[in-house]
């Protein structure tokens, strides 16, 4: 296992006597895309604000590449590129002039600016004023400023906001590439669950200021003991149904579209099949419907 690049340690935030973030602890590793999920008001943005030092933590700390964001802010944040909520830039300046502003603060060269502008595909509009930009273009510019100084950690709050489907796909591919090829840890928060499912390697679910779950995306969706809906194309259908109800009284059984639908886990699929074959039922097909992240997310957060 790689060494964690971001360590969140019992992070807490109290605002006006109310505990908004109730002690989050998790690690993020280089080369992974980490999804930060949660319903509105769960504390995602507050956590991100604490991770980049915009808001002070009431207790706990965020350690970035060994440096505490609380006590060694400049060193810690020099490894971070971020967009917090909207990519708000100076609208009366051009995209290029905006990047120049940030470049001066992190000592990035002009050739680095050109490189990054090309990377986010803004060459044609970079000398226009930002007020003429669409939201999608502002997101790209936001990404450009976040990457200017070769960060090891990229934090993006709702990055797909305002992007069209092609833009979302491009961003997704690009983030995955950044993680794989440059070993950057990418932290993405979003409400768009289907997007997160495609984008992330690991997810953390926050709810009411608590971390409900941190898990590998695949394990989370199709964990070993997860029941999935399995459809058996069998003949004769009524015989199969009767046998199954007798043999597996605890399973949910239904008939849908001329198929026998069962809620069972992985191991049980082969059990059910061999049982059916032994009882003279012919099987023409077995389909197991994977749960989406959305299904699992709702399961977890509604507990």
């Amino acid at each position: 296992m790689k060494k964690a690049i971001v360590q969140i340690k019992d992070l807490k935030k109290v605002i006006k006597g109310k505990e908004i973030i109730k002690g989050l602890t998790f690690d993020i590793y280089p080369g992974e895309v980490f999804g930060f999920l949660g319903p509105n008001g769960a504390g995602k943005t507050t956590t991100i604000r604490m991770m980049v030092g915009l808001t002070s933590a009431s207790a706990g700390d965020a350690i970035i590449d060994g440096n505490s964001i609380q006590n060694n802010f400049e060193k810690a944040v020099s490894k971070v590129g971020a967009i917090v909520e909207n990519p708000d830039m100076y609208k009366f300046l051009s995209g290029y002039q905006n990047l120049k502003q940030y470049a001066r603060m992190v000592s990035a060269t002009d050739s680095r600016i050109d490189e990054i502008v090309k990377l986010v595909g803004l060459e044609n509009a970079i000398h226009n004023k930002v007020k003429t930009y669409s939201l999608g273009m502002r997101q790209r510019l936001g990404l450009a400023q976040a990457l200017l100084h070769h960060p090891s950690v990229l934090i993006l709050d709702e990055p797909t906001n305002g992007l069209d489907p092609a833009g979302i796909r491009e961003l997704r591919d690009y983030l995955r590439k950044l993680a794989r090829e440059e070993d950057i840890a990418v932290i993405v928060s979003s409400h768009l669950l289907s997007e997160m499912e495609l984008m992330c390697d690991r997810i953390g679910i926050v709810e009411k200021g608590k971390l409900v779950k941190v898990e590998d995306m695949n394990e989370f969706i199709h964990g070993d003991n997860q029941e999935t809906q399995v459809t058996f194309q069998v003949e004769p259908l009524d015989l199969a149904e009767r046998h199954v109800r007798e043999q597996f009284p605890n399973s949910q059984v239904a008939i849908k579209d001329n198929g026998l639908v069962l809620s069972i886990n992985r191991e049980e699929i082969s059990e059910v099949s061999s049982f059916l074959l032994h009882n003279g039922v012919r099987i023409y097909g077995i389909q197991s419907k994977a749960k989406s992240l959305e299904d699992r997310f709702l399961e977890v957060t509604s507990q």
Partner: protein
Amino acid sequence: MFFKLIHNENIKTSFRLSTWIMMGLLVVFVLLSTFFGGYKQPADGQADLQKGIKKNTAILNEKDVDEDTKATAQKEIAKSEYLLANNIKPYTIHTYLNDGQGMIIFFGAFFGIIIAANSVASEFSTGTIKLLLIRPIHRLKILLSKYVSALFSTAFLLLLGVLLSLIAGGLLLGFEGITASHAVMQGDHMVKETFLYTWGKSFLLSLILPFFVITFTFMISTVFRSNGLAIGLSMAAYFGGNIATVFLLKYTWVKYTPFIHMEYLASEESLIKGMTTSFSSIVLGAYFLLFLAIAMITFKKRDVAI
């Protein structure tokens, strides 16, 4: 790094529309007052002085004139006689530059207040503060660069006004008067002084008030993150500070209020007795440090949640 931050702030200021409007207004007002102010260099200054003495002597001999007018006439006579005796030529450009000084300073103050009010508050209102504060730079450095840049921009505008006045005035009334000597009242007698020195000194001393108010504006802008409030309170302080002081004269603690000291340092005149330059400097210095400290502490501790 600090200079780069100031450079960044200067760029932002230079791209704001209000900056160009203020500069344009300053240029227009200086030129208007130069060419429509009725200033004219007399053909024979000495003869005019003689005429002035005669006119003022006549006033002194009149019966219905009040004491104040007589005192002014007396002063004028003394001054004219001193100029004649020392062979000092009167120049209209002196009157012109003295008249214009207040206007330039007013524009400088107004401009500085707008910049200082915007520099922190607008970063919050547009959300740009977030991307500014997640750089590897200490927050106080960012705040101070904004303050220094606001002062720098104000100084730039003042310099523009001064140069424009000197050039426009010089073209209209001749340049030689600028560096010529003139007579200054010192205590109860006249002394000879280079005009540019006298004028420059009074200009700089008059800048204490704008400097103070701009610092105040900057503090309000940082604490309340509202440029409207900062501009409003600062304009009230700029125009109303001295008036408010008058109402406080009956209290002993009036000597710890700021405006009375700025008035004293700029004009050496004061509504209360026992003022000294060092005491006034200490009181104003304390206010200045207090404003900056409040701005720095709130900015440092602020949770950015926009």
